[in-house]
Symmetry: C3
Subunit: 404 residues, 3 copies
Amino acid sequence: MAGSFFKGRFLSLFDYKTEKYIVAKNKKVGVLYRLIQLSIIGYIIGWVFVSKKGYQETDEAIQSSIITKLKGVSVTNTTESGLLVWGPEDYVIPPQGEAVLFVVTNFLETPNQKLGYCAESLKVLDGHCREDDDCEEGKMVTAGNGIRSGRCLRKDENSTGTCEIYGWCPIERKFKPKGPLLTNAENFTIYIKNFINFPKFTFSKSNVFETTDDSYLRKCRFDEELHPYCPIFRLGDITRRAGYNFQDMATFGASIGIMIEWYCDLDKGGSHCHPQYHFTRLDISVSKQTIAAGFNFRHTRYFRNAAGESYRSLFKVYGIRFNIMVHGEAGKFSIIPTLINVGSGLALMGAGAFFCDMVLLYLMKKGDSYRERKFEGSKSKKSTSEEDSVEDRKGATEQDNLTF
Amino acid sequence: MAGSFFKGRFLSLFDYKTEKYIVAKNKKVGVLYRLIQLSIIGYIIGWVFVSKKGYQETDEAIQSSIITKLKGVSVTNTTESGLLVWGPEDYVIPPQGEAVLFVVTNFLETPNQKLGYCAESLKVLDGHCREDDDCEEGKMVTAGNGIRSGRCLRKDENSTGTCEIYGWCPIERKFKPKGPLLTNAENFTIYIKNFINFPKFTFSKSNVFETTDDSYLRKCRFDEELHPYCPIFRLGDITRRAGYNFQDMATFGASIGIMIEWYCDLDKGGSHCHPQYHFTRLDISVSKQTIAAGFNFRHTRYFRNAAGESYRSLFKVYGIRFNIMVHGEAGKFSIIPTLINVGSGLALMGAGAFFCDMVLLYLMKKGDSYRERKFEGSKSKKSTSEEDSVEDRKGATEQDNLTF
Amino acid sequence: MAGSFFKGRFLSLFDYKTEKYIVAKNKKVGVLYRLIQLSIIGYIIGWVFVSKKGYQETDEAIQSSIITKLKGVSVTNTTESGLLVWGPEDYVIPPQGEAVLFVVTNFLETPNQKLGYCAESLKVLDGHCREDDDCEEGKMVTAGNGIRSGRCLRKDENSTGTCEIYGWCPIERKFKPKGPLLTNAENFTIYIKNFINFPKFTFSKSNVFETTDDSYLRKCRFDEELHPYCPIFRLGDITRRAGYNFQDMATFGASIGIMIEWYCDLDKGGSHCHPQYHFTRLDISVSKQTIAAGFNFRHTRYFRNAAGESYRSLFKVYGIRFNIMVHGEAGKFSIIPTLINVGSGLALMGAGAFFCDMVLLYLMKKGDSYRERKFEGSKSKKSTSEEDSVEDRKGATEQDNLTF
């Protein structure tokens, strides 16, 4: 018997074993189970695959290179600087066409600064003084413009004055911008060249129309319908799309984010993958009231006079900083996420069956009869299912003593 | 009966219930099922785990810092600028060693520009005029160099001229580069220092060989085999690896992407995680014909003469822009992705079984006999199944009215 | 029979079919199985959902924009440059407040360089010579400062000299920094304005306290408890938090990484999502001994004398480069990852059951009896398990001939 038994076991390796089901002729649960099956299948197909593209492997590590170039000229006329003509080489900082660039729209020049002695600005709290002892020699003025000389400069004995400092004099005057000086800045155009690459799929694309006609880029303007691949924008349009008026921002400066989004379904092929441009203001949040708004900084130009002495022009420039961010995601069919999603979906069917069992066994009448048929008792074999179930109930008790 | 029954139900909590299988002595389906099982196991082990490292949690949010430094000198001799010696402080823009840097290879200087009146360039279409009325005073020239003075400058009555403008004069002359002026740029060397960090695994590494020998970095050159941790490259080699000739690009400028890739299997330990360098040209795509190629921009140097009047030198520089991008992914064993993959794989076995059932029941002869055995109830057990099933079918109908 | 059979098949579409289980009254395996179930449920709930937030869809593609501004003044006094006052416009490079900025802490000026002839530096190995023939005219000096004139400059016949070069003379002198010159740099403050955006969830936030009180940002200092939304740091504090002494780094320069981390559980709402600041040194790794440490570069200021001849000041600046990196991840409940995790967990229960079956059938006494009951033979019903198994073994052979 044992031998033949092992033979059977060996042969049975290639027998197909399939679960034995019992049929519960209960239309309610039956329909319920079918519904669960349908909803799970619907979820897998509709949601996971159609809507979320769960069959795709995605690459979010987009590589991109950006080159920018501005065009346009503006003229300013101020008492300090006189009549000035501003070209891109002047108003774009830095000039080398990077992804983060600053366009001057307003400025204050403090020309002919020389190193020497003068009074600290009244704005600097730490610079105030009532007597010379308040201005310890050689001590820096916190958030000020120089080093104290030791003297306190006052109109008269009683008034509060400011310490004399050694620094670049004359110091910058107080400046409350009334309006942008580079009034024409709104009409400047920016050319944004973006080249992206999805390393995982070795797919790369540019946002510039591929043509041999050199004049194309000189004439065209971006237009979502007509010229989606002519990435030349008027600054005024950019701010308008961001929801702000250029002139308002130009006075105190601002920060604009230009987001280029590449969502590529590479199963459809690269030609279906287009850049999307979004423009948002970055220096103020929805609740407009914030102190963080505006953007300005200072830079200098150094000169030497005939005697070789240094003097400089200090520029406090307000303007709009453009921050070009590229963001994208490419998806392509891959077997792994597909199987993961299918697998987990199927597993949920098991959960559905489990749920239906609970309903069948505990909520339905005749649940117990189903119980008896579903859970076949311990010593069944030699008996018909009739006695079987009877014995079961006995067996449940006695066997606890029998089996070890 | 009820009591013992509940007792049984309680005790049965710790009974082990296992599906009842029926053995279908059908070698065909049996083998089929085994094959499915094997292929699923093969897929899980071979593909998911070995090839795709599905047992790893990955960190793609690589943090990196890059410092660059160039070495080399070149000499140029032009009519405008005379004999010039270019060092890194001149030809690297910006000079502070960033990840995006520009190396001048060709330039046109327009020296001694002063603010004043001169004729607009003929290149600027908007500047053309036939009479003074075409040059409205105070109006900007679109994409031009200044503001109209109101006069139209022409050779004679009949010819087309250009408007006189107020701007930086003389304006830049038309310039078609014949060849790169910084001929030696090809031999410049760039030192790329990259430091990366995978925050999720708090793993960080540098691409520079760790040694105390100061002269190492002065002498070595990058070599994948010999010196993989000497990140010093000759510009000519970089462009060659990118598949282009340096001199060709140097004339009109170009944009080169240097990708440093860090793929780290941290289960093997950090010492197995090496930087990979890839070089690609970023300004032209595969189909070489494009207008977007080339790269140039303008920058200025401002001077003051003895009288304090400003004048400037305008440089139009062509060159190669290097865009160093770091991209990487670290993987480390994690229980979650492992279980997700195993789990979904097992779920697929269920799918396989389901498929085999279909084959068995609907494609095989004797399928019906298997049906009856697999689905116990309706017409199965010879013993009581007759009445059973009858009752059932009655029950199926009456129950719909009875139960609630 | 057939008719009723097909009728049955049709009806059976809405019959609920549930696996038939056999009850193995084996407490050992029963408890084992329950334990497995519990541990899997525990893993799903505790690990996946509570600890790893496996029910969330995450967005790692954080978009961020950074604006920086420094405040502070320092005075230096050197033989070459005399008494100089350094403001942010001088010591911050580039001045336009970017995410990667360099603060000068030490410098060497080489003033009044003119293009002309002088001896190459002794540091440059390629410049050494014993006779004029070693200095081929017009040949560059590798890693040197100019082009050879053809003459070898030596003290006397026997000594080794250096080639005469045409370049910017006098060339920079050998410089070993003794200590930082901008001693006050430690007290400079940096204001870091960061604005982030998670495109997937269209959630954006800033690290600056939203108030209308302009003086807030002028007075406050960052403090994790008191002022977490006042992003103003003293440079000395930053280096201290990074674990280094400012003065040590200031001499030869260094590179500091400022990481701003945004981990947002958007299920809790945006107000629970705060920036975390981390400071690390980027130019040296844990094993302090490396040649890559330090950071310096050269930049120039160009001048013209009355005769219009160019001369320049060459600045070799050492300093600390701050590299502000933003890194973050937002998570929000999503049905897909939830179901994937639940599904795979359930699939694991199947694995648990499989494991328990193995135990039951192969490790337990009476395993074979369970076998026979679990795997019901082909024509079992009316027979006892004895004959059953016998018939099986016959059937196994004959059937292969019977079924097609």
